[in-house]
């Protein structure tokens, strides 16, 4: 039995971004106790740079696609897309975090290290081609997220958020794992391509009942991670309780990675049994949209509102998943990209508005923002319009592609219901705009200081990306379309 301990340089190169980030995170971890209270800013800079370098490495690695480490991971267009996406989300998160942490007097290198680790986990998730790999990546990402959610350890809401996230997350992971175990048992493989092969093999004589049950168990795990109905309950509580920048990150990075892994599992391994999945996805997508949108109608806390909105958006992406097609995959990828920018942008504003102790997270705290900080208000308006799906913003094209994919797959009714849902959604996004633009600021509002450079940079970058994707969506979509076929 030839035993090959040594990975080839090529393999290492394909895994280089993760290695770089791990290295940097470890260094930060080590240096953290050695730096003084004022020297924490450098960790942000280091993380920022390392993420930039990792993005560059991912791009470089994409030039030489292929599997690595006994097919544990694959570097293809799809994984590169999501790698870059989660790293960009990380960059934006770091930008909006620095000032927040300083304000909360919790600035420390560990935060950045955790973000980096979480991103490593997500990168592994999106490129994993193996259920084990996928599971470990998922855990890396999740555990780091649990900690981040409870990062301000003296804050009750942080604790609660972390506990809920942790307990429910682990609970759902157990279901996922159980599903994996059964899949392993029935097919004999944990490699996605192998599973596909077995399922396609007409001679394998698989017991469909068990496979279905196993996929259902896995679905529970995935649906939980992407906060799809009926497993979305944790999201509002966790999002509301976690520190604002962390919420921004959680609603984007892990979600995008979870969707990526969901897509890959669905499209690669279980595409042969997609008939089984379809009604399930259909129902879940619809329920997710409905729950997210309708429940958001009654929210007064911006973070919680955005949490419900993110549930609703998960629902839209589920519609794309339901389509089971390259177009659907590409649509989901594009949507996640646009969603990343608009949502982090929105959270950047929330982070800015909230200020110390997150006291200002009620919708009414936005009153008259357009007069107090016109630029910030304009930015938030762009993000909200994009979330609503108004043309010339990324969100519009996202929805457009998704519903186009749904129609391609002949799911006219799902598309119609989805669009009507997005009309409902317009109501609560509008409400924020109403408060910003059409209500006068109340007298007892305290002075809003100018946003920090980081928040400004994040806001502008996100807004620019939102508008750019809204005008020239092909830039991303073409890429997504090309890479969508890789996961089949």
């Amino acid at each position: 039995m030839p035993v090959n301990f040594m990975p080839t340089p090529q393999e290492l190169f394909r895994f280089a971004p993760e290695m770089l980030l791990t290295l940097v995170a470890t260094i930060i971890m080590v240096l953290e106790p050695l730096s003084g209270a004022d020297g924490k800013r450098k960790f942000a800079v280091i993380s920022f740079l390392s993420l930039a370098a990792a993005i560059a490495l991912s791009v470089a690695a994409a030039g030489d696609p292929g599997a690595a480490f006994s097919s544990m991971i694959v570097v293809d267009g799809f994984s590169t897309f999501f790698r870059i996406l989660v790293m960009v989300a990380g960059v934006l998160t770091i930008l909006i975090s620095t000032n927040y942490l300083r304000m909360e007097e919790h600035e420390s290198g560990e935060y950045y290290a955790l973000v980096l680790f979480s991103i490593v986990g997500q990168c592994i998730m999106v490129s994993a081609n193996e259920l084990i790999m996928l599971f470990i990546g998922l855990e890396c990402s999740s555990i780091a997220s649990y900690v981040l959610a409870g990062f301000l350890r003296d804050d009750k809401r942080n604790n609660e958020s972390a506990l809920k996230y942790f307990l429910l997350g682990s609970f759902a992971t157990a279901f996922l794992l159980y599903g994996v175990a059964w899949i392993y048992g029935t097919t004999g493989y944990t490699n996605l391509s192998e599973i596909r092969r077995v399922l396609l093999d007409p001679n394998s004589n698989q017991n469909m009942v068990v496979i279905s049950a196993a996929t259902a168990l896995m679905f529970v795990g995935f649906a939980f991670k992407v906060s799809a109905a009926p497993f979305q309950m944790w999201a509002p509580d966790v999002y509301q309780g976690a520190p604002a920048p962390v919420t921004a990150f959680m609603s984007v990075g892990p979600k995008a990675a979870a969707f990526a892994m969901f897509l890959r599992v669905l499209m690669t391994a279980f595409e042969p049994v997609k008939d089984r999945w379809e009604p399930l996805l259909w129902t879940s997508a619809l329920a997710t949209m409905v729950i997210g949108n309708f429940a958001a109608l009654r929210q007064t806390n911006i973070k919680r509102l955005l949490a419900y909105s993110s549930i609703a958006h998960a629902g839209y992406i589920m519609v794309a998943l339901t389509a089971h097609s390259d177009i659907g995959t590409a649509a989901a990828m594009f949507y996640l990209a646009s969603y990343t920018f608009m949502n982090i942008g929105a959270f950047a504003v929330v982070t800015y508005i909230a200020r110390k102790g997150e006291r200002h997270v009620e919708i009414q705290d936005l009153a008259g923002l357009s007069q107090r900080r016109p630029v910030v208000a304009a930015m938030l308006t762009i993000f909200l319009l994009s979330l609503t799906g108004i043309p010339l913003t990324a969100g519009f094209f996202g929805k457009f592609y998704i519903f186009k994919a749904a129609l391609d797959a002949n799911m006219v009714w799902l598309a119609v219901l989805g669009m009507l849902n997005s009309a409902v959604a317009a109501y609560y996004y509008l409400r924020l705009i109403v408060v910003m633009y059409m209500q006068a600021p109340s007298d007892e509002m305290e002075e809003l200081p100018a946003p920090s450079v980081g928040i400004q940079a994040a806001m502008f970058a996100a807004a620019a990306a939102t508008v750019f994707l809204g005008v020239f969506p092909s830039v991303v979509l073409d890429y997504a379309g090309k890479s969508a076929s890789f996961i089949r």
Partner: protein, 501 residues
């Protein structure tokens, strides 16, 4: 890069530049936006000649790729149908900018910026030949209007703005689905291409598809028109919007709906349109009479005018769904007429509001004594609105009714009742507002027109007379394009007959 493209760019660029202007210099903002809108207007006049020389075809066409997949093209062009609507938009924009000169005193910059953005949106809708592009502009036009109503409106402005937005969103949601569905059927968003495919039999919609697609588009447009019973957003939006908003809403935005009906519903879904014409005409006529009756009893001027719009737009829909040359010409002409005369009515109501700060008719009376010219203008506009001959609305109403009579004489009978009622409510408002003894509040606050207001009103009055007498300056271009549309509606049926043989 032809004149039309430049015309589209100007308001967009104006919008962005306005945003860059200093916030604390409203005069600069006003002058700048006025300048921009005047340039747009002057340029748009340059469109007339080329289009009129070839009104049945697209002129100033630009067709370049915007997005590769799915193939979305920046395909714009102008024909006889859209020409006058484009000019109406550019014509009214400087006017509403002038109207708001004094009225808008807070957040001036945003206000004027939104006006330019609105112009951009509506121009885009009128010139887009790609369904997707059409939809994009359709939605873009929604946003500035939302802000105009929501920020600078009256007391219930937020409710009105949100209602307006959600109503339209609900409609456009379905339209988007239909657009995508069409794309999936045909592989293109390009309207002329689609029509061509239909003519050649390469794109055929079966009955059910045609019906649902038609309905999806129709629903979106009917909300915008607004057709009874989808009209309830209109009185609220009109009633609460600032003058400029009401004017643009009534004069231009409502036309998006009727324009869509003519531009998209008729040629693309001729068969379905024909099959559904009966109940749609029923709704249109109901709207005509209903709008008039409800307008009659409104105590608030703006709401009155708003309900009158419901009535007037009913005529347009009626004309469109007669599928006759006469009716269609009348409908399109009526769109323009309504734009001018109802716009002017809103401006005049706004002028009264600026003076007396009330929209309740009961708060007025005897304005004729203290502001004779204002009253004169108001009466002239009212008369135009009730369809007095030699003023603009008459021509449109005459043609629409003639077209209706051609299809079914009873349609004309019932629709003509609306004409009677329109004189009732309009004159009643005039009487209660301008005649009688002058209360002291009115006497002290309501003074006659200023030079700026003259500048606003005279062009409108001139247009009313011109369009009433010289309809030949406008109608031939419209007619030619409408003939094309009717021709397109006929073709598939003819083909079926051919296939049956």
């Amino acid at each position: 890069m032809n004149l039309l493209d430049i015309l589209l760019i100007i308001p967009a660029a104006g919008f962005l530049l306005t945003l860059l202007l200093p916030k604390d210099n409203p005069a600069l903002v006003r002058n700048f936006t006025l300048f921009v809108s005047l340039i747009a207007f002057v340029l748009s006049l340059g469109l007339i000649g080329p289009v009129q020389s070839n009104p049945g075809h697209m002129t100033f066409e630009t067709n370049t790729q915007w997005i590769e997949y799915p193939s979305i093209r920046y395909h714009v062009g102008l024909d006889g149908l859209s020409l006058w609507l484009v000019i109406l938009s550019t014509f009214l924009t400087p006017i509403v900018i002038l109207v708001s000169w004094k009225y808008i005193q807070n957040r001036v910059k945003e206000f004027y910026a939104f006006l330019l953005a609105l112009l951009f949106g509506v121009l885009g809708v009128f010139v887009a030949l790609d369904l997707f592009l059409f939809f994009v502009f359709w939605e873009i036009s929604l946003v500035p209007m939302y802000f105009l109503v929501g920020i600078w409106g009256h007391d219930k402005r937020i409710y009105a703005a949100v209602k307006f937005f959600l109503y339209t969103m609900a409609g456009s949601a379905l339209m988007l689905i239909a657009i995508i569905y069409l794309y999936n059927k045909s592989g293109t968003f390009d309207m002329p291409l689609m029509l061509d495919m239909m003519q050649k039999g390469r794109l055929a919609l079966n009955g059910t598809e045609g019906f649902w697609l038609f309905l999806a588009f129709f629903f979106a447009f009917a909300i915008k028109v607004p057709l009874f019973p989808l009209h309830t957003w209109l009185p609220d939006a009109h009633g609460e919007a600032p003058t400029a908003g009401s004017v643009m809403l009534a004069s231009v935005l409502l036309k998006l709906g009727t324009y869509g009906l003519v531009r998209i519903c008729l040629p693309l879904f001729g068969e379905a349109a024909r099959q559904n014409a009966a109940w749609i005409i029923g709704l249109a006529i109901t709207g005509i009479i209903y709008g008039a009756l409800v307008a009659m009893v409104q105590p608030n001027m703006k709401r009155l005018v708003a309900y009158s719009s419901v009535s007037h737009l009913g005529f347009v829909v009626l004309g469109v769904f007669t599928f006759t040359q006469v009716g269609l010409d009348g409908a399109v002409y009526q769109m323009l007429n309504h734009g001018i005369s109802t716009g002017a009515l809103f401006i005049l109501v706004g002028m009264l509001y600026e003076r007396r700060h009330s929209l309740e008719i009961a708060d007025y009376g005897g304005v004729g004594t203290s502001a004779p010219w204002l009253s004169t203008m108001f009466v002239i506009t009212t008369l135009a609105s009730v369809g007095l001959p030699l003023l603009n609305n008459f021509v449109g109403e005459f043609l629409v009714l003639q077209g209706a009579a051609q299809v079914n004489f009873l349609y004309a009978v019932f629709a003509a009742i609306g004409v009677i009622l329109s004189s009732v409510y309009m004159l009643w408002m005039v009487q209660r507002t301008f005649y009688g003894e002058t209360p002291s509040e009115v006497k002290h606050h309501v003074n006659d027109l200023s030079a700026r207001e003259w500048a606003v009103l005279v062009p409108l009055i001139v247009m009313m007379v011109w369009m009433g007498i010289g309809s030949q300056s406008f109608l031939p271009a419209v007619s030619a394009q409408n003939a094309q549309i009717l021709e397109l509606m006929k073709k598939p049926a003819a083909k079926e007959v051919a296939n049956a043989r």
